[in-house]
């Protein structure tokens, strides 16, 4: 076994895990505020990737414009989803899976809309000034674009920690995650929090799509994969915990990357599945999940 290959696999895995972490963070913010698992999260990332393609490859506008358009568009998509798909169901209050079906349906709508606008074209590369640069550390090399992914994850985590710790809305969200009823008694309005949470989820997806676009090319069908990888990350790390989402995602990234290196990349979704089964067998609530809070 070649140690260098292993090492570089781990580093690449951590980098691609950073992307899953951003998807999982989007899930977690929404989940904490609303107890809804937004199945369209991956499709929002996909939407951002294809917007990048349109802005950078077709229109050839500057990078900053692409970032702004991606973030604004996905943020708005998140708000629309909350207002028209999720809130009516939460208001009805019956059952706990209506929202699951509804967000799944919304993800199909996004996918179809994007596919119809973009067309079912073969995947195309998206330009980036960073993609040709490489970071070297001993035997390990990493594309600068991946470095940007990791840096964005750190940035997003810091911003969300700041938001949770220092802003009123963030603290209200944290309180709601802790105890919904007590928070409601203190005058915290769940509906307003829900919309903010979905907007944040959308913005995080927008950033994730922007930084990953040059690496993954433009494909419509990748959204579901991201949604599923994000779920795997959360299930492995434990629901509701930001730390759990990140650790789960990094573990998933490394496992998937090593699976690719040693077993081939054809069905690497199986890597996550195996990891999930393993974690559930040992600790059903996930690594950082609190016992009794496994449930949604």
């Amino acid at each position: 076994m070649n140690l260098d290959i292993l090492l570089s696999g781990i580093v690449t895995g951590l980098a691609s895990g950073s992307l899953y972490a951003m998807v999982a963070i989007g899930y977690t913010v929404v989940y904490n505020a609303t107890r809804v698992f937004n199945l369209a999260q991956g499709q929002l990332v996909m939407m951002s990737i294809l917007l990048c393609y349109f802005v950078l490859s077709v229109e050839k506008w500057p990078l900053v414009v692409a970032l702004v358009i991606c973030v604004v568009a996905t943020g708005i998509a998140g708000i629309v989803e909350e207002r028209f798909v999720v809130r009516p169901l939460l208001k009805l209050g019956h059952g706990r899976i209506g929202w699951l079906i509804a967000t799944l349906a919304f993800s199909i709508i996004i996918e179809t809309v994007v596919a119809d606008v973009y067309g079912y074209n073969p995947p195309k590369a998206i330009p980036s000034p960073l993609i040709s640069h490489v970071l070297r550390a001993g035997p390990v090399t990493l594309s600068m674009q991946y470095v940007l992914v990791v840096a964005s994850l750190i940035g997003v985590v810091l911003l969300i920690e700041f938001f949770y710790g220092r802003t009123w809305t963030g603290q209200a969200m944290r309180a709601t995650a802790e105890d919904r009823e007590a928070a409601a008694l203190f005058g915290i309005e769940p509906a307003r929090l829900g919309m903010t949470a979905f907007a944040i989820g959308g913005v995080v997806a927008g950033i994730a799509g922007f930084v990953i676009a040059p690496i993954v090319f433009s494909t419509v069908s990748i959204g579901l994969t991201y949604s599923l990888e994000g779920f795997l990350a959360m299930a492995i790390g434990g629901f509701g915990s930001l730390r759990g989402a990140i650790v789960g995602a990094l573990a998933l990234g490394v496992t998937t990357e090593l699976w690719d290196v040693y077993l081939g990349s054809h069905i690497d979704l199986a890597a996550g599945l195996c990891l999930l089964v393993l974690v559930l067998a040992i600790r059903p609530v996930g690594i950082f999940g609190r016992v009794g809070e496994r449930t949604v």
């Binding site: 899976i97 209506g98 919304f106 199909i108 059903p284 449930t295």
Partner: protein
């Protein structure tokens, strides 16, 4: 007041999506399928169009299967397309490689076997966690199966398998014959779905869908029941996969992608989860649109996405549910009109609705004690209810005799008491129950009283296996219960009721009790579904046993009503009747009298007395101290998790500590406010 909440969130329920159960009209049902079968033939459509109809029907089979696991058993499954794909590939591979010439029967067998194996492989790990995880894991498989197919060279990778290119494959039957055969299969599957829904399996599914705690309290293992639901739902999916491959002679990864699973789900939700014809109607709508959408094909994701969201938001019971609701509203309107009739005729003409109205107007309070139409039925079970030694058997004309299991007290542990020693449990620093000792003796009524939050319900939850004790033992004749599952303990004859009644709200009152009496009747699940062998008589014996239990509580007249629509007091009595129908050795009642009228309490008290007379050991948790002191032979008083007194009602009544706790003042200083 703590209710059982351990697994409360672990099972996202689809109960609210389940529509009316009154959709079974044989004439309309047969006419519906006759129209599907012969309509196109009469209209003289081409063979190509028939093939398109076959696509719709084959996927409707998958929707029927999804309805079993999701609509009947309430388990979230988002990957029906994966099982369908596995079955389709198995059938295609068998036709192409394994058996020369393939042939429909072999393909169908391969499809069903592969689907069931896939169902078990998916189910075993995912059901352990269940609920939402199950949904996500199945969705993962919906994405995973086409991925495997794409990368599997033996199965033709991206191109899939083309049976038309294989010379040994002959499509026989074909054309009209094949179409009618497929319609026939959908018809048979729908009949079987209905039959399953109203069999002992269906009642267990219903209990599971309503709440896992309810299922466990009836001795139904939720894991086994979920797995059964999963495997049963795989059979129609397997048939659908095999028949579609046989009909279209091709399968490829693109035809079984994850979106297919969402469309199958859309079919089930739009048609109406939990209904019988709903899946076929919903499947026909969704896959009919897909097949004949023509130029709009590229918008199908938008169309079905919006449709699905609208149905979930506006008509969660789906089309058949809405139809059922309209029908019921019409019936009710009709019934109200008829009430102009003289009272003497009213009951005979209108049956249940009138009694419900009477109850709502307050006249049922006295009415409830008078015998209803069912109460007078000469039932050997009813007669034997108060005679524990009597062997109970029922032989029904023209069918195999079915015997109830013998009375439990005759068993080895019959005379033993249920002993609780040093039972303790804390919740995050709060000592809810602290070293409590209790004894429940067969044939005796003990009571547990104490202020709110003193740990009464927690003790019931600990003894019946819903919580794990931190310390202490629960034994019956030396057999330890404290590490057993709730379902096991229920199976050992320790029954319970819940503070807030847990009922299968969409089912009839009778079925709510039958799910308990089923447990005591020996009959295999297959016999019950297929209505062969012991099946028919077992159902009848179970029904009459359940009716007897309802009669015991004076509510047999409600037997055919929907449990969710009867008044709260009746719901409590239904739960009590269900506990009676279990024929337990020990029964734990959690505030059974709360919210009951005095007349209802009288019925309840009589039922409890006849239970203890029959040798059942009853532990009653009750707020109404007077009722308890009048009824119980032994009273235990709890305060903040500690047992502060126990003994006969007389001893407890005069205990200074008890008086202090309950009245907030010391017994020896009877202070009078002089202000």
């Amino acid at each position: 007041v703590s209710s059982v909440s351990s697994g409360d969130g672990s099972s996202p329920r689809v109960g609210w999506l389940v529509g009316s159960r009154r959709l079974w009209r044989p004439g309309a049902f047969v006419a519906f399928f006759a129209a599907i079968g012969f309509g196109p033939l009469v209209a003289g459509v081409s063979t190509v169009t028939l093939t398109q109809f076959e696509f719709i029907l084959c996927l409707s089979m998958v929707v029927i299967g999804l309805n079993v696991v999701m609509g009947f058993a309430g388990q979230l499954s988002l990957g029906p397309g994966a099982i369908f794909g596995v079955a389709g590939y198995a059938a295609a591979l068998v036709a192409a490689h394994a058996v020369a010439g393939g042939g429909l029967p072999i393909m169908v067998a391969a499809g069903i076997v592969a689907a069931c194996v896939a169902g078990v492989v998916i189910g075993v790990p995912a059901l352990r966690v269940g609920g939402f995880y199950l949904g996500m894991t199945t969705l993962l498989l919906a994405a995973f199966v086409p991925l495997v197919a794409t990368n599997w060279n033996f199965a033709g990778s991206t191109g899939g398998i083309e049976l038309i290119a294989i010379s040994s494959f002959v499509q026989q039957p074909s054309g009209t014959a094949l179409y009618l055969l497929i319609v026939g299969v959908v018809f048979v599957l729908s009949v079987l779905a209905w039959s399953t829904r109203h069999s002992r399996i269906g009642r267990r599914f219903s209990a599971l869908r309503s709440s896992e705690e309810l299922a466990a309290s009836l001795g139904v293992s939720s894991y086994q029941t979920k797995l059964l639901a999963f495997v049963l739902s795989a059979v129609p999916a397997g048939l659908g996969g095999a028949f579609l491959v046989f009909s279209h002679q091709t399968i490829s990864p693109g035809s079984i992608n994850a979106t297919l699973s969402v469309y199958i789900l859309a079919g089930a939700v739009i048609g109406g989860l939990g209904t019988i014809v709903g899946p076929v109607v919903g499947g026909a709508i969704v896959f009919g649109l897909i097949q004949f959408l023509g130029g709009f094909a590229e918008y199908e994701g938008i169309i079905f996405g919006c449709l699905l969201i609208l149905v979930v938001e506006l008509a969660p019971e789906g089309l058949m549910g809405v139809r059922g609701r309209i029908g019921e509203a019409a019936t009710r309107l009709f019934a109200r009109r008829r009430s102009i009739l003289p009272p003497a005729l009213r009951g005979r003409l209108m049956g249940a609705p009138h009694r419900r109205a009477a109850f709502e107007h307050g006249t049922a309070g006295t009415d409830i004690l008078s015998p209803g139409p069912f109460d007078e039925l000469p039932s050997p079970l009813h007669a034997g209810l108060h005679q524990p030694g009597l062997a109970r058997s029922a032989s029904i004309r023209g069918s195999t005799p079915v015997s109830l299991e013998p009375e439990r007290p005759a068993g080895p542990a019959g005379g033993s008491a249920l002993e609780v020693r040093g039972l303790s449990r804390s919740f995050g620093g709060v000592q809810a129950v602290d070293g409590v000792d209790l004894t429940v003796r067969p044939g005796h009524l003990s009571a547990l009283i104490g202020p709110n939050g003193s740990g009464k319900t927690t003790i019931i939850n600990l003894v019946t296996g819903f919580y794990r004790p931190d310390a202490g033992t629960v034994t019956i004749g030396g057999e330890h219960l404290e590490r057993r599952s709730a379902a096991w303990i229920a199976g050992a004859g320790v029954a319970r009721t819940f503070q807030a009644p847990k009922l299968m709200l969409e089912d009839s009152v009778l079925e709510n009790v039958m799910v308990a009496s089923d447990k005591r009747i020996r009959c295999s699940d297959a016999e019950s579904v297929l209505r062969i062998g012991r099946g028919r008589s077992a159902t009848r014996v179970s029904a009459s046993s359940a009716t007897a239990a309802l009669a015991e509580l004076g509510i047999a007249r409600y037997a055919s009503e929907v449990a969710g629509e009867v008044p709260h007091g009746i719901q409590r009595l239904i739960e009590m009747a269900r506990a009676v129908a279990v024929r337990p050795r020990f029964l734990f009642l959690d505030e059974p009298a709360a919210g009951l009228t005095p007349a209802e309490i009288a019925v309840l008290v009589a039922a409890i007395r006849s239970l203890t007379a029959a040798g059942v050991g009853v532990l009653l948790v009750e707020h109404n101290v007077r009722v308890v002191l009048d009824l119980a032979e032994e009273v235990t008083v709890l305060h903040q998790g500690l047992k502060i007194a126990s003994g006969t009602p007389e001893i407890v009544r005069t205990d200074p500590e008890v008086i202090r706790v309950f009245l907030g003042r010391s017994a020896d200083v009877p202070e009078r406010t002089t202000r």
